[in-house]
C-alpha cells in the first residue's frame, strides 16, 4: 500500500482548470513518489503566485504552483534573482516547499525557478524523465543529506615559529654576522614561521581528509562540493572540506557520534568542523555520488 494513492483517479488532462491559461506559468518545486503529499496543498509558495498544489504524473506527483507568467518571464526572473533580497526570498521559499514535500514523501528537488508554460508542458517534460526520477527516488528514499565543512582555525598571532621569539625585542643588534639581530637570523625566523604555517596547513588538510574518510564510511554516497573562498569580512578561516554525505535515516545518531569524536580530534590540528542537516538530498539526485566538484 505504499504506491501513490493520491495519483489515481485524477481528472484527465483536459479537465485541469485554468492551468493552461497563457497568463499563468507552472513553477515546479519537486517530484514526489507515494507518501501523503496532499498535506502540501494550499501551502504558500512564491509570493505572487497561487497556493501550492499537486500535479499528478502517473506514478509520480509534482509539487507545483501557478505563478503569473509576466512576473516569471525570463527577463523578470533574471532581474529578480539578481537582487540579493529577492534571491534569498525565492531560494528560501523553494527550499521550504521542497522540505515540506520531503516530510510527506520521498522527494526529488528540482532547481530553483523550473518554469513551464502550463501543466501540459510540465507533464510532458517530467513524464519523459520518469525513469530517471524513479532512479533518483530509489537512491534517496529513506536517506538524508548532511553537509560537513571543515575550516582551519586561524593561528593565534602570538603562536610563533618554534625557534625564538616572534618579533619585537629581538635582542640588540649584534655585530656578529650570525647574531640574533643579523639579517641571516631574521631570514631564519621568517623561514621557520613559514615552515610552521605550512606544517599547520598540512596537518589541517590531513585532518580534513580523515574527517571525510570516516564519514564516507558511514554514508551511502558522498560528494565533495566546491570549496568556499575566504569570507567577505576578511574572515581568516580557510575552508578545507566542503562535503555532502547521503546517510540512511536510521544512522543519523551514529553520524552524530562520529562527528563528535572527529571534532575533538580535529581540534588538535586546528580544524573546526561544522555540520548542517538533515537536508533533502539535493546533492544526490542527479546521477550518483561519485562526481567530485573539485577543490
Amino acid at each position: 500500500m505504499t504506491a501513490a494513492p493520491c495519483t489515481t483517479g485524477v481528472p484527465t488532462a483536459t479537465d485541469v482548470p485554468t492551468a493552461t491559461d497563457a497568463s499563468t506559468a507552472t513553477c515546479v518545486f519537486a517530484v514526489c513518489r507515494g507518501g501523503d503529499p496532499a498535506a502540501l496543498e494550499g501551502m504558500p509558495g512564491h509570493e505572487e503566485g497561487a497556493r501550492v498544489r499537486l500535479l499528478p504524473l502517473g506514478s509520480l506527483t509534482a509539487v507545483v504552483q501557478d505563478v503569473p507568467a509576466d512576473r516569471f518571464s525570463e527577463e523578470a526572473v533574471r532581474e529578480r534573482l539578481s537582487d540579493g533580497a529577492e534571491l534569498e526570498r525565492c531560494a528560501r521559499t523553494h527550499h521550504a516547499v521542497v522540505s515540506a514535500a520531503a516530510r510527506c514523501a520521498p522527494t526529488v528537488p528540482l532547481p530553483l525557478a523550473t518554469l513551464y508554460l502550463g501543466d501540459e508542458r510540465a507533464r510532458a517534460a517530467l513524464g519523459k524523465r520518469e525513469q530517471h526520477l524513479h532512479a533518483a527516488l530509489d537512491r534517496i528514499e529513506g536517506r538524508a543529506e548532511w553537509a560537513v565543512k571543515a575550516y582551519t582555525v586561524p593561528a593565534r598571532p602570538d603562536a610563533p615559529a618554534p625557534a625564538g621569539k616572534p618579533e619585537g625585542p629581538a635582542a640588540p643588534a649584534s655585530s656578529s654576522p650570525d647574531g640574533p639581530g643579523s639579517g641571516r637570523a631574521y631570514l631564519e625566523r621568517v623561514r621557520s614561521r613559514k615552515r610552521a604555517c605550512d606544517l599547520r596547513q598540512e596537518a589541517a588538510l590531513r585532518a580534513a581528509e580523515r574527517v571525510d574518510t570516516a564519514l564516507r564510511g558511514l554514508a551511502v554516497a558522498a560528494r565533495r562540493l566546491r570549496l568556499h573562498g575566504p569570507g567577505p569580512d576578511r574572515d581568516r578561516r580557510t575552508q578545507m572540506l566542503n562535503a555532502a554525505y547521503l546517510v540512511d535515516g536510521d544512522r543519523d545518531r551514529e553520524l552524530a557520534a562520529a562527528v563528535g569524536r572527529l571534532r575533538q580530534e580535529a581540534e588538535a590540528d586546528g580544524v573546526r568542523i561544522e555540520v548542517s542537516g538533515p537536508w533533502v538530498p539535493y546533492s544526490f539526485v542527479d546521477g550518483g555520488g561519485t562526481g567530485d566538484l573539485g577543490c
Partner: protein, 134 residues
C-alpha cells in the same frame, strides 16, 4: 500536536549552537538555521535539472555575483558564505568565462601581429589558433 513545522520552529528562541542539538526526529528535513549560502549551494545548481520552458540560466546571472556579494556582506548569518565560488569558476560565472575568452583573444592577436611582422617564420598559419600553452 500534529504540527511538525511548529515543533521544528520552536527552538528558534533558544537557538541551539549546532543543528545536532536539535532533536533530529522532529525536524526531518531542512535545517531551520540553514544559512543562505548552504541553501543557495543546494538550490541553484543541484537537484534534477529538467529544463523548463522559460530558460533561466541561473549560472549566467552576472549581476547576481556582484549584488549577492554586497548583500551577503551585510548579512551576518551568511558571514561565512565565501560566496565567490560563483565568480572564480568559468563554468559557473559568465564573467570568468569572458575573461578567459578575452585573454585568449589577446594572445591570438599578439600571435597574429608576430606572424604579420614576419618575426616568427617558424609558425605555420594553421597553428595560429593555438595559444601555445602560455
Amino acid at each position: 500536536m500534529n504540527d511538525p513545522a511548529g515543533t521544528a520552529l520552536a527552538p528558534a528562541g533558544t537557538r541551539p549552537p549546532d543543528p545536532w542539538d536539535a532533536p533530529a526526529s522532529t525536524t526531518p528535513y531542512g535545517p531551520r538555521t540553514a544559512n543562505l549560502a548552504d541553501i543557495l549551494e543546494r538550490v541553484l545548481d543541484k537537484g534534477i535539472v529538467i529544463a523548463g520552458d522559460i530558460k533561466i540560466d541561473l549560472l549566467d546571472i552576472e549581476l547576481l555575483t556582484i549584488r549577492l556579494r554586497l548583500f551577503i556582506a551585510s548579512v551576518d548569518t551568511a558571514r561565512k558564505a565565501g560566496i565567490d565560488w560563483w565568480e572564480t569558476d568559468p563554468a559557473l560565472s559568465s564573467r570568468a568565462a569572458r575573461d578567459a575568452l578575452a585573454e585568449e583573444n589577446r594572445q591570438l592577436r599578439e600571435r597574429l601581429e608576430a606572424l604579420e611582422s614576419g618575426s616568427s617564420p617558424a609558425a605555420a598559419p594553421g597553428a595560429a589558433g593555438e595559444p601555445a600553452g602560455s
